[in-house]
Amino acid sequence: MSLVDSERPAATGPVRSTSVGLSGDGRSLGDLGVLWVPAVVLVLALLVTGSLAWVSYHQYTRNERRLLGLRLRDAGALLTAALPDIQSELASAAESAFFARATASAKLGVIGLLRPPGLRLGYAFATPGVTDGFVAYGENQLPADRRSAIERTSAFTGLDYALYLGSDQRFQDLLLTSQARLPLPGPTDSVTVPFGNSALTLVMSSRIPLAGSLPQRLPWIIGIEGALLAVGASVGALRLTERRRSAEDLASRLEVSSSENRRLYAEQRSIAQTLQHALLPDALPRIPGVQTSAQYRAGAQGVEIGGDWYDVIDLGDQGLLLVVGDVSGRGLPAATTMAALRYAIHAYAAQGDPPARILTKLSDLVSVVDSNQLATVLCAVVNPERRTISITSAGHLPPLVISGGVGEYVELKAGLPVGVQTGASYTSTTISVSPGATFLAFTDGLVEHRDDLERGLSRLRDAATADDTGLPELVSRLMDELSYAPSPDDSVILGLRWTS
């Protein structure tokens, strides 16, 4: 039983925290899902990186080749420009030697590489097909190792070259080179310029990137940076995926645990109600002349068993003993005290004790000092034939009697609740009712709500006299109308009606 006033917040169901074990075994499939996205991110990023690196490398080599070609063209032009000098030197030498004018038909003939001693390139300037003509012969001394480096200050610094006689790049025809080993390393390009009746072939390669070092490094930079970014992105994706996964996991766990909580709550509530109903009478005794009906309803916080009870005891000749009681508090302590009181009343009634003595004796069973419990109990002895009710109250709410369509609460001198004081005395009040009268006893869970206790009692009275229905219907209707949610307390209503 409880006393509720307007400040009381709406009762809410207790929240039980339950840890629900989800084993890690079920995650192997989920891990594939976690790795899927990062793997795709990694592959895509690596593909993009690889493509960029390849494009930049391709561009780099194409640029280098083009630059090398330009250099080579310059070198070939220089070479072509230098060769007529040889011819004109020989021509002027011939003129001074033979006092003959070198004819336009005179041709430069290349003899070839001569050795030993030394390594020389021989060439002659002669008039072809004329036996009495003149021949001017010249030689160019070549380094024995045929090495000649390009000067640092030259425009061609950074390039390697090999100069061959003739158009074939044969080692025996090599005139000069900057490199100790041939062929030249790296990509090469060549140009052949006419030299007399032969030709000179210039092969070049670049020792350093011609466009600077950045284009050379760019593919590597792109590749390495891209790979790092790809790994970073996939790790980031992995984390995000895992975070999302764990959020989903948590959500599903919460879902499971809240449904588990609901289930446990419902189960506990069901256990409490089952226990409570087990402690209440199975069937009310039937005796001629009167009809009885009772209902119990658990409070909104019904996970705990309450302390309300009702009972109807057949007293034989003396009629029926109706009992409604309410033990303070909730849970098993209240329920066990309730059971003890209920069976004690049965026993004392069987011994023939009148209600006032029964209530006095009950005070020996319950002590507020020892157990911090007290109980309010209403006993009513009904004589069906005489239509009298003798009512005794231990601090309980007064019963409502409807007689001739008028509802009235019986004025009682209420004694102390059971458990306050041993040896407490009680007085009974006897009333007579008209035929067809209805007697209603109840616990405070039914009438006390957000407003005044008296207003609750008035509402019960108004509801009980609103229309004329059968007793079971009336009891059910009052329970439905008055114990509106959420009442934190359990409620009992017990009714008796004279059928004649």
């Binding site: 409880s2 508090g329 911090n372 007290l374 601090g395 709410l397 007064p398």
Partner: protein, 109 residues
């Protein structure tokens, strides 16, 4: 006036004052029910062990009380010579009267 922390229950506060000549005043405010009754009882129990002659429980600030609270006061009343429940709200007053406890609680008529 000492404020006893009733098991850190945010719903109820308990203050205890003693005049030194046998009267103890316990002021309870907030909500008192089966859920925090033990905490309040534990907080006040040492004072009752000193057997004060007169115990005044001021419930003017109590917005809600259930029957466990009434049982607690009845028990306190049993452990002292004089007991007075002071300033109960109208509903609480009616219930105590209806339960036949008005005399026990020394309520004003």
């Amino acid at each position: 006036m000492d404020q006893l922390d009733a098991a850190a229950d945010p719903l109820v506060t308990v203050d205890v004052a003693t005049d030194g000549v046998g009267t103890t005043i316990v002021t309870i405010a907030g909500e008192l029910d089966i859920g925090n009754i033990d905490a309040v009882d534990t907080a006040v129990a040492p004072l009752l062990l000193t057997r004060p002659e007169r115990l005044i429980v001021d419930v003017g600030g109590l917005r809600f009380a259930d029957s466990s609270a009434i049982a607690l006061w009845v028990r306190w009343a049993a452990s002292v010579d004089e007991f007075e429940l002071r300033n109960p709200q109208p509903l609480l007053r009616k219930v105590i009267k209806m339960m036949g406890l008005a005399e026990k609680m020394e309520l004003d008529p």
